[in-house]
């Protein structure tokens, strides 16, 4: 079937969602997604970031859909026409969702371990505003210890529920989920249990914000100071691919994560042993440096070209200006006998 997104036509198989079709096209038409995760079944539809306008339902029923549709859970129809980047309604809706997500989200990026890798930062960069209209006190939660490996910072959580789906789909016994309702809904373990399943670390990778962070990496470094390398090891844990990204500072492996694709989704899930226990270079076969998108914060540390001495052209001018200023202030070269209007100061007139 054929679908058109922002004027770009593509042929897709039946069952493809609008978001998947947009990702096939790529570029600016790809809607942002905070809760959808292609590797997790049943994800999507919650954050409402990926709303798009269906201008034509299909060839069979060309009526436009009155409401904006969540592209991650809406299937394509033959002849469907969708406006994503091109639609003012869509842009406004994304701005609204960004504003809603930020009203209670702490702006603690300078100390957040997710900074540089945060999907909410990227969303805000694209759709956020510089000023907030929210003057109320932000919602906060009591800190909670959910286990030895993962730090939960509930104030940052945007309730995407990806971590719950990871626990449902990758682990044997889920011990955490969503408690309470409304804006007080929170991620928590059931009756203070600890999350210690072998694949629980993947919750960190799927979290789009800094709500779930790696306890072995917290406050060790900013991600852009690390150099990421693809690495692998022969992992004996059933279900673990053993393919990871190791984040190095000098010769030290500070963090191990799954390998992520261009939409920040891990390609294959890894076990806790690979993630938390193997931090020696000798544990890994290093394949080579990872590639990052051009505008990524992490790319700031990706020195692939030889550095050259920077010549500051303005330096000479600055020094010249300073010299003139100094002369004016000291008035060294001013004739004290001469007034500014040209009259002699000590004139007899």
């Amino acid at each position: 079937m054929k679908v058109t997104i922002d004027g770009q036509e593509i042929e897709v198989e039946a069952g493809t969602t609008i978001l998947q079709a947009a990702r096939m096209i790529g570029g600016e038409s790809v809607p942002p997604a905070m809760c959808y995760y292609s590797k997790l079944k049943g994800s999507g539809g919650k954050c409402r970031c990926c709303l798009v306008e269906v201008a034509k339902g299909s060839d069979a029923d060309p009526r436009p859909m009155p409401k904006l549709m969540a592209s991650c859970v809406t299937g394509c129809m033959d002849g469907m026409e969708i406006n994503s980047k091109n639609s003012d309604r869509v842009r406004e809706a994304r701005e609204s969702v960004t504003e809603f997500l930020l009203i209670n989200h702490p702006l603690d990026c300078p100390v957040c371990d997710q900074a540089g890798e945060c999907d909410l930062q990227n969303l805000s960069f694209e759709h956020g505003k510089s000023k907030t209209r929210f003057i109320e006190e932000k919602r906060t939660f009591e800190p909670e210890d959910i286990g030895p490996n993962i730090q939960l910072h509930m104030n940052r959580c945007i309730l995407c529920q990806r971590c719950v789906q990871v626990a449902d789909q990758l682990t044997d016994n889920r011990v955490h989920g969503v408690m309470d309702r409304g804006d007080h809904a929170n991620i928590s373990t059931c009756i203070s249990k600890a999350i210690d399943n072998e694949f629980s670390g993947n919750m960190i990778d799927v979290c789009p914000v800094g709500a779930l962070t790696d306890k072995t990496f917290r406050f060790k470094s900013r991600v852009w100071f690390n150099k990421p390398y693809n690495a692998h090891r022969e992992c004996t844990t059933p279900g673990c691919c053993g393919k990871t990204t190791v984040w190095m500072f000098g010769n030290e492996i500070q963090r191990v994560t799954g390998r992520k694709d261009e939409y920040h989704e891990v390609e294959e899930f890894i076990c806790n042993s690979c993630r938390f226990d193997h931090k020696e270079v000798s544990d890994w076969v290093i394949e080579g440096p990872r590639e990052f998108e051009k505008d990524s914060v992490i790319n700031q540390n990706n020195y692939t070209q030889k550095l050259e001495t920077v010549n500051i052209n303005t330096e000479e001018g600055i020094l010249k200006g300073r010299l003139e200023d100094r002369k004016k202030i000291s008035m060294n070269e001013i004739d004290y006998d001469e007034k500014i209007d040209g009259e002699k100061l000590n004139s007899d007139k």
Binding site: G45, K46, R48, R133, A185
Partner: protein, 455 residues
């Protein structure tokens, strides 16, 4: 005098019990449907009747039934939505409390029409005593052979259970109700697939309101055509209205659709006019989630026609000049009511009841409530009215389920029709601090303060 269909036998002593209900002609529709009709014929009668869902949305019931996937070969279910939680709506409780066998009769007949062998009544947790009444009535019906295996020797089996929810408004949304019935957190599902294709346990399911199902026995007994003759236009049949607020006779009434709002409000047969004969200020005709109407739009539409108690007439002109029949929660306000406080109160409810699954509803309802709280408590800012308008417009239509709309519409309508009251709250905080403002000094007396200078 309106024709009574649902509450016809409400005053018969002992009608709650099986013996009396049966003696009064109860369960006749089950006999007729099972012995003399095919399931499709029952569906056809309901279609002919024009019966519309009485839970609020008003979708044609027969059409909803015809959507059920019969080809899949999967078991089918009928679920009765008795999770009545909308502020101002209390009609289903009345029906279930005093006529439990009417609902059970409707459940059996409807289940037969849909080919369902396992049906549920999902009731809100706060209706525990009604839950017990229904359980007892089901036991009586089962003992009399109306439920269980081989009903009336026809080979048709039906098990009926009552399931008590934990008390969440969102569980009145059909997909959240199904999730809750499956033992999960009551979060709405993303549609499609619709329950008629994949509902309870991924089987084809129809979810209908109590009043809708209770209307089915009369339709089967008397024919869909006869039902369609009651009412007016596409609003056929009768409707239960739960009236509350500043009226002389609050309570649950069965009216014929098409009655004028004026007659319902002011005749002695119904509400009997305003309590203490104070002036009418506003009306919410269909439960707290529908837009409020100011006094000048209550009795007449913008065309000057009489406003009728029908789906069409109440929504005449869209939300600019109309509202909705909704679930029939008829809330009346006199001039002592503070619309700002009332809106904040509703907003507080929707904030509390938002499930938290999708962003606009989770964050937006809380924000709305906070801003309204500030305005009501004398801490409003001039820009807050525009802010409220902006927030509600960003929630509406962008959420997974209609709870976002339900939270947004009352705020929008209150600002649209009663903006001056918001301005008054913001500009004269000292006058509203005793929380007695419009009781001691109705807004009509202080209106000139804000109309002279508009913010």
């Amino acid at each position: 005098m309106s024709k009574k269909i649902l509450l016809e036998k409400i005053n018969v002593p002992g009608i709650k019990t099986y013996e009396v209900y049966r003696r009064e002609g109860g369960y006749a529709s089950v006999e007729k449907a099972i012995k003399a009709m095919t399931p499709d014929e029952v569906v056809e009668e309901v279609k002919k009747s024009g019966l519309r869902g009485r839970g609020g949305a008003g979708f044609p019931a027969g059409m909803k039934w015809s959507f059920i996937d019969k080809k899949s070969g999967k078991p089918r279910h009928l679920v009765c939505n008795a999770d009545e939680s909308e502020p101002g709506t209390f009609k289903d409780r009345y029906l279930m409390e005093f006529l439990p066998h009417l609902l059970i009769e409707g459940m059996i007949t409807s289940s037969f029409a849909l080919g369902a062998n396992l049906s549920y009544i999902y009731i809100r947790g706060e209706y525990m005593w009604v839950f017990k009444i229904l359980e007892r009535a089901i036991a009586e019906a089962k003992a009399a052979g109306w439920l269980g295996k081989n009903i009336l020797g026809s080979g048709y089996d039906l098990e009926l259970h009552v399931h008590c929810g934990a008390g969440a408004y969102i569980c009145g949304e059909e997909t959240a109700l199904i999730e809750s019935l499956e033992g999960k957190r009551g979060n709405p599902r993303i549609k499609p697939p619709f329950p008629a294709v994949s509902g309870l346990w991924a089987n084809p399911t129809v979810v209908n309101n109590v009043e809708t199902i209770a209307s089915v026995p009369w339709i089967v007994n008397n024919s869909g055509d006869d039902y369609a003759k009651i009412g007016i236009g596409r609003s056929t049949g009768t409707k239960l209205i739960s009236a509350s607020g500043h009226v002389k006779n609050p309570g649950v009434y069965e009216i014929e659709l098409g009655l004028t709002v004026d007659e319902f409000m002011n005749s002695d047969e119904y509400l009997g006019g305003m309590y203490s004969d104070r002036p009418l200020k506003a009306l919410i005709p269909g439960g707290s989630s529908v837009p409020i109407l100011p006094a000048d739009l209550i009795y007449k539409t913008t065309n000057g026609e009489d406003r009728l108690m029908t789906y069409e007439s109440l929504s005449d002109g869209g939300f600019a000049t109309g509202s909705m029949l909704g679930s029939g929660g008829f809330i009346v306000y006199d001039d002592t009511a503070c619309i700002v406080r009332n809106t904040w109160n509703f907003s507080r409810f929707y904030h509390h009841e938002s499930c938290g699954q999708c962003t606009p509803c989770r964050e937006g309802t809380g924000w709305l409530e906070k801003v309204l709280w500030r305005i009501e408590n004398g801490q409003g800012r001039e820009e807050d009215i525009e802010l409220l308008w902006s927030i509600q417009s960003k929630i509406e239509g962008n959420t997974i389920c209609p709870l976002g709309d339900a939270a947004s519409w009352p705020v929008a309508a209150a600002i649209r029709h009663f903006r001056e009251e918001f301005e008054y709250h913001i500009r004269f905080p000292e006058k509203i601090k005793n929380r007695n403002h419009f009781v001691a000094e109705p807004f009509s007396q202080v209106k000139h303060l804000v109309t002279k200078q508009t913010i």
